[in-house]
Amino acid sequence: MSIQTPLSPAPPTKRAPTAKRRNTRARRDNRDGLVMVLPTTVIVIAVVIVPVLWNVVLSFQDLSLLDIRDAGPFQSLTMENFVRVFTAAGFWQSIANTVVYSVAATVGSIVVGLVAALALRQPFPGRGLVRAAMLLPYVAPVVAVAFVWQIMLNPQYGIVNVWGQQFLGWDRPIDFLGRAPYALITVIAFEIWRYFPFAFMFITARLVAVPRDIEEAAIVDGASALQRFRYVILPQLLPVVALLSVLRLIMTFNKFDDVYLLTGGGAGTEVAAVRVYDTLTGRFDVGGAAAQSIVLAVFLAVCLLVYIRFFVRKEDRA
């Protein structure tokens, strides 16, 4: 996006307007533009910016949900929440869970999305339909799909366990959502299932724009399909894969509903967002919840800065 200040001299056009006209036009643009973004800016400030700042304040206050009604915004500040959060049993475990969960789900969904995009690259009859079906998990309501997964994975009557015992020779049903190592793997699989369509969409869109001539030249040179992927297509996809990684990592890191609905945060799946929720509504510990969410946001901000520092710059140079 080119950045131009409103009054910077415009390049000469064919119908060169007088300087005065251009000036009023620029001024009008400026005024109209400000008026038009005003409602958005107001609502974003009211429902996002102010609450975030308030969250920062809350994180330094010792408040419980019960005394929140009488508490003013400038109650005495304390570092106690952070001390308590960092030393609480389970906090570091939840951070570790979150990291494993978000990294594995991000990598998994991008890899599956990439494979799907490549498999559907060449046209075949019914491709449009298959493509549309591929996006179902992404558009469907999370509550409904989490619930179907729960039923399918149920140890008593879940079809996965029934079939697993019948056809795969499992000795006993696996409690996919209730036992420690399985539960985390299952919520990761769910996340990959639900979000590979997102990667699939972006990578497909990018594949369309890969110039055909380089690839044809590679075919003439006798490059195999794998070589063409490795040396021609993959480099073209890297920027979009990097973007996807950041987007998905941020989104998954904050994920609440998927994990909460599948396991309620039990059996070794307590991720940070679920912990914030539990701290807030289960223990009525407002300050603690605020402090934990701040730690989360800071972690993400650092990730984002790293991305901008190392990836965005490189692309600009290339």
């Binding site: 009008r28 643009d29 533009g33 958005t40 019948q166 990018r206 609905l261």
Partner: protein
């Protein structure tokens, strides 16, 4: 050459295997959800391994139970549907109303602070919603908005406006500026140009943005849970389904009927606008 053809053959087979696997993985859960929603719970417990149900076992009692109001011994989903519809439609209307001018301004007009505003909106889009949860929960509780649908709408609008501005902006940029210039030479003011020339041209993309916003509002769960958990009267479909699934007294197949009811509107809308939606979301992807 030999290695090359061998690789080609393997990849050709692999490609179809991958496609088949992906179709099963994405479609089967929805198929299974639909099948289970039409059988009585005893039928599922008797034969949990089957994926096909004969016509004699089918029932629509599950749907009757889930839709009927609580007074009539049902689960009250009709009410939840109404709540969800009100929330989603109001959010779509207001979000479009607010974001169309915003997107137009960001796409076309050079005004002071334009880049700041764009960055701000992008940041909002990426901002962890759970960070907003604590203060909003408290704020709405303090203002007494906590147990009304109004608070929910506010939050959804703030969450969807940045995304729709991002989507609409790309569409507006794709409309050639010369069309608008022609209109303004003919004497049309900014508003007239916008309403008579630009908006009709952008209508398909406005529709798909609206659909995306609807999807977000309809599917949302966290804020509905935070604001409305104590008010069964005001539950949205998502929240209603989640709350009911916690209890053991509601048969699972009845809840599958609820899941179908929750999912169908989204799939129908998505079927209508699938192409426009994917294009809208991924425009700009090729730029990295």
């Amino acid at each position: 050459m030999n290695r090359l053809t061998a690789e080609q053959k393997v990849l050709a087979v692999l490609r179809w295997l991958v496609i088949a696997f992906l179709i099963i993985a994405t479609v089967f859960p929805f198929y299974y959800m639909a099948v289970l929603s039409f059988v009585p719970i005893e039928s599922l417990l008797l034969a949990p391994g089957r994926i096909w149900v004969g016509a004699q076992d089918l029932t629509i009692d599950t749907y009757r139970t889930v839709l009927a109001s609580v007074d009539d011994g049902g689960q009250g989903f009709s009410r939840f549907l109404r709540n969800s519809a009100i929330v989603s439609l109001v959010v779509v209307a207001l979000t479009l109303l607010i974001s169309i001018p915003g997107a137009y301004a960001v796409a076309r007009l050079k005004f002071a602070g334009r880049t700041t505003v764009s960055t701000l909106f992008l940041a909002v889009y990426l901002f962890p919603t759970i960070v907003l949860a604590v203060p909003l929960f408290i704020a709405f509780a303090k203002m007494g908005l906590q147990t009304s649908l109004l608070g929910l709408m506010f939050v959804y609008i703030a969450q969807t406006v940045p995304v729709s501005i991002y989507m609409l902006r790309t569409y507006f940029q794709a409309i050639p500026q010369s069309v608008e210039e022609a209109a303004s030479i003919d004497g049309a003011g900014r508003l007239a140009t916008l309403s008579r020339v630009t908006l009709p041209l952008a209508m398909p993309s406005i529709m798909s943005t609206g659909l995306y916003v609807f999807m977000i509002a309809w599917n949302e769960f966290l804020f509905a849970l935070l604001f409305l958990a104590a008010e069964p009267e005001l539950w949205t479909v998502s929240l209603g389904l989640a709350q009911l699934s916690g209890g053991i007294e509601v048969p699972k197949t009845v809840l599958m009927a609820g899941s179908v009811i929750l999912t169908v509107p989204i799939i129908v809308l998505y079927g209508i606008a699938e192409r426009a939606l994917t294009e809208g979301l991924t425009t700009g992807a090729d730029k990295g």
